[in-house]
Point group: C2
Chain length 410, copies 2
């Protein structure tokens, strides 16, 4: 939060992030004169955004009235992944009042997916979680024109190019809506309630189905000229390496991502190179062969080994599993060393599904980054795991939703 | 320039960048009320920063008075390279009134180098170019703490670490001083008077003795947490490649930079692989053997071939020269493709001594960037040569100097 932001925004964000505060403290904290503060508070009460919340404990003189965000405020937060939908409905303080998660396929297209989103929100409404929404925030797994509220040429989202996501959600729910890239909302979430709390310059690296990077500079998400800043999954790390969905070869994402790890782990299981994975593959076959998940798998037998299997194998000391993780970490680390030299951030956060590979992955990434970047840039550079895990995205979407509702109150 | 900047800054910058303007036009352009504008102008006249400059042409009604920056304003701009000092003294509009260039070695340390800078400025004073300076701006070839005005752990500048450059220059000349990285001032210069005029988000890539990148985001230089953002010369591009001065191997700078090209060109001349370079080497020997330059060269015979020789050889169709340039362009292009995926800029400017390799270099860089980055980020991405060439640095230093003088007027 910056002193240059409008007073109403600073008041609303402080109440969102810290809860009820007395009028007196609010004036002190935000360096607002008493008449200015009272006028702003009165206006925000009239707008239904804040409410009185009893008397504050005495500070010696006259007791001051507490104010808080209106208890009826409701934000919808949506995190669309390549294979999942996460929806939360929160109160003004961004505490989840309802949360839904279901498997999906982003390739079914915007109509079907947004229909599911609206169904989940209708369910929350029917359960009495809200009467009306004050704003909707949504993240999608591809580049977004933040200004226009539409995905732009998203490689893994056929049918979504320039689809009016923001407009349709705003119309459906009669409130402001905001659309951003999935990695950007994860970065925003981690800064709001995770390990990057109050950090102004950091990179959030998501390693999941795809690989991407949320860039937080000078306290705000940096999106680039076309909204595709942070698209690091298609950086070439091995000339002549495996083919990538983007049409090039040797991209980071083709070498290390959820899909790439599943491919390499299956190969290690089948060749017997990894006894731990071979055992899991054998155990998985009868149990999973009839499930929807296995049926969607690409392999002939329908059998799969997962990132979790690799993490468990590594924990048991399986050499091949450890090697798979370290190879991946080395590749991610090489790209991050370049980005550290370029951007000189103050923290790197690793999130997404493969963050469950944990400290073996982290140790390898750190080793490469610390060795390959200049000492000045790494002398005080934490490389850490996401604290919020799979909730980072919805948390950031709720932050964006609340910001857009607050901005409308000007 | 942003509407959120203080009015006096906006007035001074507009007069600097566009010359004399009538009071009436100034008010319109900066969206300032007439009383506010008159008060600011009066204050800046009293402070000796602006002056009246006659009557404007009539706009139909009463004729308005022209104002301009005070004709006595003088800024000193200094660009320290690894092997050269450039000094300019400019008027308020940043037009050079005197310019000096001499060879040096940054490794002679801060006392000797700053002594030379002050000698050159004393010469300008003795020649009547100025009576007193209003600000000094200086760029140095290494990381800088912009806030503290000191170099920080600069790899090629022994003795300069935390040396109080800003403080000493300010005391010596009795005016504000400002210190920045050499690549940052080149980026600022190119934006002020070059090909990046008014472009808000661009990368300025300097390929000279070393390799670095000035990052301009949202209209301002981005310096990173420790001031070393843009230090791209030490990004690894070839594992196991040649040793670099930083202690690692295969850094971009070890493979393609002024020093690396001189090394590779000399090898191509000696092996006879390049007839054009062999011829130049033979011709250079007698002519250069007694010169100071050859005496400083590292090779046993003292013979050198230069980037200019390689450029000329390529222009004559010498295959080895063309290959040297294309190999270098491919390596720079690979790093830039990564940075384009990460930062999604709206322009890339190539400057520094090796920019004289011209369109052969540029074509190779473009080819790699356009092939390796996502279409969304490259659809509208010019990759161009610096317009200001060797004057980019001093131009940017003058811009920084004027900004610091203007800021003091608050």
């Amino acid at each position: 939060m910056y002193l240059t932001d409008a007073p109403h925004l600073r008041i609303l964000r402080l109440l969102r992030d810290e809860g009820p505060v007395s009028r007196a403290e609010l004036g002190d904290r935000l360096e607002l004169s008493r008449p200015r503060l009272l006028a702003e508070v009165e206006r925000l009460v009239a707008a239904g955004l804040i409410a009185e919340a009893g008397m504050a404990a005495s500070r010696g003189g006259r007791r001051s009235t507490l104010v808080e965000l209106h208890p009826g405020l409701r934000f919808a937060a949506v995190d669309l992944g390549a294979t999942s939908i996460d929806v939360e409905v929160t109160n003004g303080r961004l505490e989840p009042l309802a949360a839904y998660r279901e498997a999906t396929d982003i390739r079914s297209g915007p109509r079907a997916i947004l229909h599911r989103v609206n169904d989940l929100l209708a369910k929350a409404k029917a359960e009495g979680v809200y009467e009306r929404l004050d704003a909707v925030g949504i993240g999608v797994p591809g580049p977004v024109s933040f200004r226009d509220g539409v995905p732009v040429s998203p490689p893994i989202m056929p049918g979504w190019d320039r689809y009016p996501v923001r407009e349709l959600l705003a119309r459906e729910h009669g409130c402001p809506a905001v659309v951003d890239n999935d990695v950007n909302i994860m970065a925003i979430g981690e800064r709001h309630g995770g390990v990057a709390h109050s950090v102004d310059d950091f990179l959030f690296v998501k390693i999941g189905t795809g690989v991407g990077c949320g860039i937080h500079l000078a306290g705000a998400v940096f999106r680039g000229v076309d909204g595709c800043a942070g698209d690091i999954g298609h950086i070439q790390v091995e000339p002549g390496g495996p083919a990538c969905s983007c049409g090039n070869t040797g991209c980071l994402e083709a070498l290390f991502s959820g899909a790439a790890l599943a491919r390499d782990a299956l190969a290690a299981a089948r060749s017997g190179e990894s006894p731990a994975l071979a055992q899991r593959l054998a155990a998985a076959r009868p149990a999973r062969s009839g499930s929807g998940r296995a049926a969607r798998g690409g392999s002939e037998s329908g059998a799969v080994v997962t990132a979790k299997d690799v993490a468990d194998g590594a924990a048991e000391g399986d050499i091949a599993c450890i090697r798979l993780i370290r190879d991946g970490g080395r590749r991610v680390g090489g790209v991050l060393a370049t980005l550290v030299s370029f951007a000189n951030p103050s923290m790197i956060v690793i999130g997404g599904g493969l963050a469950q590979l944990g400290h073996v992955l982290l140790a390898e990434i750190r080793s490469v980054v610390y060795r390959r970047s200049l000492p000045l840039a790494t002398g005080n550079l934490p490389v850490v795991l996401s604290e919020l895990g799979s909730r980072a995205g919805v948390t950031g979407a709720a932050v964006l939703a609340s910001d857009s509702a607050f901005e409308q109150a000007s």
